[in-house]
């Protein structure tokens, strides 16, 4: 029962994010570069033995966060709280063993890593993140499957939401009856998902699908991308300087 509610909560979150991003303009910089920058940043922070580097990255990310809308700031902070507190607690014994800096370093690195990802997540739609993967050779089919899975999650989330509304309109009072219906809704949604998957497979066969896929729009490098590559260079240069 609890698991069912979790599944519904997750699809609800996906649906919300999709509605919010439906009219959003695509990222001006190639998503692959933005994802790559986030990964590089986390990697360099993990390798860094100098707190200056980590603190500088945190400061830059905080600056970016401050320029975001309040709802985004709240989401990023929510994503940060748990991992940071958890890592601080895990590393707490180090303070009593005489290594307080270790606790501080690890906690800061966790804070930096999660913040970089959370801030990137706010600036990119999930489709742009998956598109970033398709920039790598041989990943296009993987991206197609990932995109289709997300799409089905949203369609079925929408469908189960409508079923829930129907149950709500017909139910008066009895909570136990409503809860029991959640299982029925998920069962119906599962059957619907099977039908849709079969129909999509047939549609793909009708369009000669033979297991290979290539994205049509290859994002060529623009001057903005060139500028963004400067961020890579700056990160690496600063890492070497502070080493």
């Amino acid at each position: 029962m609890r698991l069912n509610l979790k599944v519904m909560e997750m699809t609800g979150r996906l649906l919300r994010s999709d509605r919010e991003n439906a009219s959003r303009k695509p990222s001006p910089v190639a998503p692959a570069l933005r994802v790559g920058a986030a990964v590089l940043c986390i990697l360099l922070c993990a390798l860094s033995q100098n707190a200056v580097y980590v603190i500088t990255v945190i400061a830059v990310e905080l600056l970016r966060l401050a320029m975001m809308p309040p709802a985004s700031i709240l989401r990023v902070i929510k994503a940060l709280i748990l991992p940071v507190i958890f890592s601080a607690l895990i590393m707490l014994p180090a303070v009593f063993l005489g290594h307080p800096r270790t606790m501080l370093t690890v906690t800061m690195k966790v804070l930096e890593s999660v913040m970089v990802l959370a801030v990137m997540n706010e600036g990119l739609d999930w489709r742009e993140v998956t598109a970033a993967f398709s920039a790598f050779k041989g990943m296009a089919v993987f991206v197609l499957i990932l995109d289709m899975t997300m799409r089905f999650l949203m369609i079925l989330g929408d469908y189960s939401g409508k079923l829930l509304e129907a149950v709500m309109l017909r139910s008066v009072g009895k909570t136990s009856w409503k809860n029991a219906k959640v299982d029925g809704i998920l069962g119906t949604t599962f059957l619907k998902s099977r039908q849709m998957a079969e129909a999509t497979e047939e549609a793909m066969a009708c369009r000669c699908f033979n297991g290979q896929y290539r994205s049509y729009h290859q994002h060529g490098l623009t001057w903005r991308d060139g500028l963004f590559l400067g961020v890579y260079a700056a990160m690496i240069a600063f890492f070497i300087l502070t080493k």
Partner: protein, 222 residues
């Protein structure tokens, strides 16, 4: 040309098609009419190689279409390239992340050169008025827009045979008029068009030949 000879089809013992014998000729528009459950969609599935008859023969351009032959990838590709199928529910037909990706999907599968793919994508984006939607996710489009994208994706492959399953379903009046006019314009291209519908007005406006099916799953009025 499509020839069907004594086609029978059952769903686990429940009859869906009975003794269907018919010939569809190139350059004509056929409207397959009949009540719900008479077997129109099943006939479309057979014509598209998605289901195989229990008895009878299906011949497309002098090639017998059988399950065994469609297991051969080259044959299956050549077969599917000949038939464009616009599903009743466009939602299941659209699975790519953007409208232009959707149109290019079938063209990549056909192995066309990049230049031609780009040319065709642009042509059908213009023709079906999709320029403002080209980067949008098909999932977020309206019913009419989804139908237009599905049409563009199928037409871009330039198949000589086109099949439409209930092309007006889920569309408002403007959308219905647009699709009707569009299919009417397609008739002049010399393609074989088969439309499954129970909308008599649509059939009256478009059909060169009315093919009627009854509740006994037979063609009664060829």
């Amino acid at each position: 040309m499509i020839q069907l000879e004594h086609i029978d089809y059952d769903y686990q013992g429940i009859p869906a098609l009975r003794d269907i014998t018919y010939t569809f000729e190139m350059g004509r528009c056929y409207c397959l009419e009949g009540p719900n459950g008479c077997g129109k969609s099943t006939l479309f599935r057979i014509l598209n190689g998605l289901a195989f008859p229990a008895r009878g023969r299906y011949v497309l351009d002098s090639d017998a279409i059988t399950e065994k032959r469609l297991r051969d990838d080259t044959f299956a590709k050549a077969f599917h390239a000949k038939i464009g199928y616009v599903f009743q529910n466009a939602e299941v037909q659209l699975f790519c992340k953007s409208v232009e990706d959707e149109i290019a999907f079938g063209l990549f599968q056909l192995g066309l050169p990049e230049g031609e793919i780009e040319e065709r994508v642009e042509k059908y984006i213009r023709q079906l008025n999709l320029a403002s939607l080209r980067k949008r996710t098909p999932y977020n489009l309206s019913g009419g827009e989804k139908k237009r994208v599905a049409l563009a994706a199928v037409l871009a492959m330039d198949p000589p045979i086109l099949m439409f399953d209930e092309p007006l379903s889920g569309l408002d009046e403007d959308g219905q008029c647009w699709i009707t006019d569009f299919i009417r314009a397609l008739k002049s291209t010399g393609k074989l068009i088969i439309i499954s519908t129970h909308n008599r007005r649509l059939a009256g406006q478009l059909a060169d030949v009315h093919v009627r099916m009854n509740k006994d799953h037979r063609i009664i009025c060829p």
